[in-house]
């Protein structure tokens, strides 16, 4: 009991314990690869219309079939990976960067900063978040950048609250007192001891949040408040194909829909796996 086990590489530990997480990480790797390489490797130009081949089922020429204006669904689905992943990653990165720092400062220092931020967060959270995103887009206009900003803003309270709770927990820790004895001022305490120690639980949430961010972006595009056509994006593609399902053209919506589902599932599984690494007693 007085001896301790040397730490194994967390990644190897993670993959050995949880095969499902290993699969998810592999899938994530694949997604990144597709996002990077798809634009150069796809068989057809994702934007090229072809009226002669409108709404054709999957075939040897068009692997996933074509949509209403004859565009290759496969190429569009693959190319959209880059956009959707990009939107999700940027939005979450912005939310996290601002939210975690602000939340940590609020949780650790309290005072007027905490009070003001709390009111701001309460205000934001009073709105159903998707509606808030819709409202922001309608004011700012449809564009990829605005989708990113809207998603980031709507996500912000989540990170602020999480960081604040974690930082408040740390406030009474022995090592914070010890650091004060070592001559550290408040800013140093925050950067050297508080922020690094609140990151692990937030990392788990980032991963789960990425899935949500993609759904948010796709959802906005689905209702026409997101990315503008003819850009290839999963949400728009599902919207385009929705009206065609009734007439039997299942492939236009299905493939982008499955892509969306797999990506979100992948992020959620990675998030679960990260949680297991951080707290081995809570194996899901």
């Amino acid at each position: 009991m007085s001896e301790a086990v040397a730490r194994r590489s967390p990644l190897r530990h993670l993959l050995q314990e949880n095969k499902l997480t290993g699969v998810a990480v592999g899938l994530f790797g694949l997604l990144v690869l597709v996002a990077l390489l798809a634009p150069s490797l796809v068989p057809h130009d994702p934007l090229a219309t072809n009226a002669a081949h409108s709404v054709e089922p999957p075939s040897a020429q068009f692997w996933f079939g074509t949509d209403e204006v004859g565009r290759d669904v496969f190429s569009r689905t693959m190319v959209a990976t880059q956009l959707d992943l990009g939107i999700a990653l940027s939005a979450v990165a912005i939310s996290f960067a601002i939210g975690s720092v602000l939340g940590a400062a609020c949780g650790f220092f309290g005072g007027w900063l905490d009070r003001i931020t709390a009111r701001l967060v309460d205000t934001l959270m009073a709105f159903p978040l998707f509606l808030l995103a819709m409202a922001i887009i309608s004011v700012l206009g449809n564009s990829t950048a605005n989708v990113v900003y809207a998603t980031a803003l709507v996500n912000l309270p989540f990170y602020i609250r999480m960081a604040r709770a974690e930082a408040a927990k740390l406030r009474g820790s022995g090592y914070i007192e010890a650091a004060r004895l070592a001559g550290m001022g408040p800013a140093q305490l925050l950067t050297a001891h508080v922020y690094p120690n609140i990151l692990p639980p937030i990392m788990v949430q980032i991963s789960l949040n990425l899935g949500w961010a993609i759904l948010n972006a796709a959802g906005l595009s689905f209702i026409g408040l997101g990315v503008r056509p003819p850009v290839a994006e999963w949400g728009i593609m599902v919207a385009d194909g929705a009206s065609l399902i009734v007439s039997g053209a299942w492939w236009v919506s299905l493939f982008p829909g499955v892509a969306l589902m797999l990506t979100v599932l992948c992020f959620n599984l990675i998030g679960d796996g990260l949680r297991d690494v951080l707290d081995p007693r809570r194996v899901t």
Partner: protein, 316 residues
């Protein structure tokens, strides 16, 4: 010779949540002094205020009133939140009760020990490394363990990291907040010997806070007994244990398990009373004191000198 550390009439109270006008009197008029190279014990149970007193002396929190004078410098004049920048910060350091909690879980022992040295002294890279090695050796921490993190160390090893870290900035006063409470008996003995060696070799003054009288007796020359924010008895360790004058001290002495004495003992009944809004005109021990008289309920006893070097706050 003036004392190195002089505390005079220190008071610190905290407002009670939800009860306006009510205060928890954590430290209520404490005075004592410590000379250079002296080991003084502060003994008391939970709720007596010793942790608060430790943090007041370490200048982590501010008192409401009173004086803390260190080598002639008035420490109260510098507020706690600015004390980190003061040159006096390096001269008073603390060893914590829960050594594991007092080390950042991401830090190695080396990094934890280096932190105060880097923050409080001017050192080159090489000088820093040398100093870390020096204090680690002083604390009996093998070089090989320096690159381990807290969870890879045993209780005794973590305690040594805490001690090495406190020694880094070359302090004059070391506040020891129940440093052996979480340790096994055999490790405890080693750590106590270490404190004594350090005291003699480096001329360190020690303020040893504990509830364990057996341990305190070994290490400290003088003992202060604290109850509900006040000092109720003080004097040389041996005298205090052989012939306690205050009933609470007697109860503490009797509470130490002693196989040789399975019989008659002073046991205090009732539960610990809280330090919220204590009565101004009665002894705070009266609800639990087995030998209380009428006067104890109507008049608070003052700390008075009954013999040279011996003070008691009791009517009897």
């Amino acid at each position: 010779m003036t004392a190195l550390l002089d505390i005079a009439d220190l008071r610190c109270r905290f407002p009670v949540r939800g009860r306006k006008g009510s205060f928890l009197h954590a430290v209520d008029g404490v005075s004592f002094s410590i000379d250079r190279g002296e080991a003084v014990a502060l003994v008391g149970e939970s709720g007596c205020g010793k942790s608060t007193l430790a943090r007041l002396v370490a200048r982590l929190i501010d008192p409401d009133s009173g004086q803390i004078s260190f080598a002639g410098i008035d420490l109260v004049a510098i507020p706690a939140r600015r004390f980190a920048d003061d040159p006096a910060r390096a001269r008073i350091q603390m060893v914590f009760q829960d050594a594991g909690d007092s080390i950042d879980p991401r830090y190695t022992a080396r990094q934890a020990i280096a932190e105060p040295i880097r923050g409080l002294t001017r050192q080159t890279r090489a000088g820093l490394a040398a100093r870390v090695a020096e204090v680690a050796a002083l604390a009996g921490l093998p070089e090989a363990l320096l690159d381990r993190t807290a969870h890879q160390l045993s209780g005794g090893q973590k305690a040594r990291v805490g001690i090495a870290r406190a020694l880094g900035p070359a302090p004059d006063v070391l506040i020891l907040d129940e440093p052996t409470a979480a340790l096994d008996v055999s490790v405890q003995a080693l750590v106590l010997r270490l404190f004594d060696d350090l005291r003699r070799e480096l001329g360190l003054s020690l303020l040893f806070i504990s509830h364990d009288l057996g341990v305190v007796r070994l290490l400290c020359a003088r003992v202060l007994v604290m109850y509900l924010g006040q000092i109720v008895e003080s004097g040389p360790a041996a005298d205090l244990f052989d012939a306690p004058r205050h009933p609470y001290t007697q109860a503490l002495v009797d509470a130490v398990p002693n196989p040789a004495r399975r019989g008659q003992r002073l046991r205090i009944t009732g539960d610990i009373v809280s330090a919220i809004d204590p009565p101004a005109n009665a002894c705070r021990f009266v609800g639990r004191c087995p030998v209380a008289i009428a006067r104890c309920r109507s008049e608070a006893p003052m700390l008075r000198e009954v013999m040279p070097g011996r003070q008691v706050a009791c009517h009897l």
